[in-house]
Symmetry: C2
Subunit: 348 residues, 2 copies
Amino acid sequence: MRNAPLQERRNRQILADLVRTYIETGEPVSSRAISRRFEETLSTATIRNIMADLEDGGFLYQPHTSAGRVPTAAAYRFFAQEIASQATLSVEDREWIRREFAAAQSRAEITERAGHVLAEVSNGLGIVVSPPLGRTVLEHARLWLLPDGRVVVVLISPGGITRDKVLRPPRAFSQQELDATADFLNRRYSGWTLEAIRNDLLVKLATEREAYEGLLRSALALCDPVVLGEETTPLVHVEGTAQIASAPEFANQAQLRELLSAIEEKHRLVTVLNACIDAPEPVLVQIGVKEISQAGENLALISAPYTRGDGVQGSLGVLGPTRMHYERAINAVAYVAQIFSETLSKIS
Amino acid sequence: MRNAPLQERRNRQILADLVRTYIETGEPVSSRAISRRFEETLSTATIRNIMADLEDGGFLYQPHTSAGRVPTAAAYRFFAQEIASQATLSVEDREWIRREFAAAQSRAEITERAGHVLAEVSNGLGIVVSPPLGRTVLEHARLWLLPDGRVVVVLISPGGITRDKVLRPPRAFSQQELDATADFLNRRYSGWTLEAIRNDLLVKLATEREAYEGLLRSALALCDPVVLGEETTPLVHVEGTAQIASAPEFANQAQLRELLSAIEEKHRLVTVLNACIDAPEPVLVQIGVKEISQAGENLALISAPYTRGDGVQGSLGVLGPTRMHYERAINAVAYVAQIFSETLSKIS
DNA sequence: AAATAGCACTCCCTGCGTGCGAGTGCTAGC
DNA sequence: GCTAGCACTCGCACGCAGGGAGTGCTATTT
């Protein structure tokens, strides 16, 4: 049992070829198949020896004694690294993606487009994680009074994502008070994230007893419900459930069911997807995503962060069967992340 | 071949019992099974004769010669009618539903809750169709200028659903102009639906050449992009994909795939769901929904409209396998529609 | 020493025949 | 009009044999 069969260059190539053929055919790969790919410069017997080594190394396994070999998660990991360095996206794919984004106007639309493209390219799920409200930067706040005493709160961020809420405030406000509060927020907090604003308000209230305590209280009373409302958790957009349902690896109904319910619990997805934000590489490839579901072993997740201006906003990616077209998917994710970021900055 | 086997009361009861047992077991129902349900007051032979009649009438069919009978779409339709008149929801179910809604604050939340409840109760999909933007009633409009010339448009409706957009207007506006326009909208159109407003503006512009033509133009220029934006089509919320994936009738992967992609094309769903708005009965039961997909034959859709105040806003319902627990589902849909309407009116 | 040819062996898959059981349709009798 | 009885039809599970794909091992070649 040699422990590091990947030392040898030839072994690496054989492993890569094996993964590639398995991805194409979906069936255990025999020594003959590999030999053919090498134009028979190596006999099947030789290949068999190498395959045995690779199996010892944990890169392959046999479904049963007299079957071909199937790549393990480790093999996919190796393979993803191997191709990540070299491959580029085909011109057609690039153009297609560009076209898909061209018509999109609103943020909602480009999110949907992105999800669609990613699903299509991977035969899996296209996922886009929008940033949680707390990370949104405040550009401008506006408050006004409705005749019946309710208050309309509108928060505008640079992306043109506005959040608003009509709320019944804890005490009556006059329009003057509201104006003063809005003015205070705009003057002092324009450019801050909502999260930061909230924390600052709380700290200030606790520590300082100043002239503007009233303003602080008003600001908190009015902004808190907006920020704490519906969407404190990031919004997850998933496209392509139909695709993944038809993948042969999910012929097993129970597994499919588990996967689908995992998708419905979006917070789990978010954590795994957002891992790419802190990762060193531009595109993160995760093979075997157990966090998602038991069936996650057979899943691969390719994700990349997207930005708006300078800051990271969220992440997007592809969740599909481990047996997927990595070359295309990895590059597509990178490209979509880029175009997505660009388009996001463009629309006002 | 007798043409109307349902004339006879006994036949009706046998058919209903057969459907009921089939829903329970999921397997072709034999004459013996029915005989047992009748406490053997009728022999299997008699039952067999009746079943043959029912088959001629198009209510049953045999998967193969020596198998039991399976209900057809017609049988389900009959069954749904039969039970619709009598059944009521269990106390536990009522309480459970009420509890589910109790905590919901925002419209988004109650929509999600409703979807969840409906999915749970039917082992199928819970679907809620929100009204298209055009049907929203305008309560109040507000416009303001940002320092860089962009304009924030906020439309408030009685439900507290606000729509807003930051847009770069076709020409420069002053805050005075904006105020005048907003004032005009509020004075003239408060209480109208956005659709109606838009049409009226267009008509007025075409026919009248009046002093306030400028106002009309401004109003149109500013409101149109908001209304025409992202959500002109109704919003469809679907919950419970995981449930339906595990239904034995979708063991066939191809069918499941088709169904899932049908769900992704939401506009198709909307049409079928909204049929209940114009239907005479409070809850509409559709058996075999071919509009959705080929596999739709095995699908049943139970839907009901919901209101806010006086007007119908949208519809909600359940999409599941024909073999579903109708009693519970029909009543649940009715009840959820009611609670949904109430809760909708309550939240400001 | 590495690569290869050859061979025995393992295991899956398919097709075939068989028997069993559930369920029906029909007919004769109550 | 209902029922008992019987012959008949299928589907299904089982066992079995044959073929094929693929492997591991060993002896041989380079």
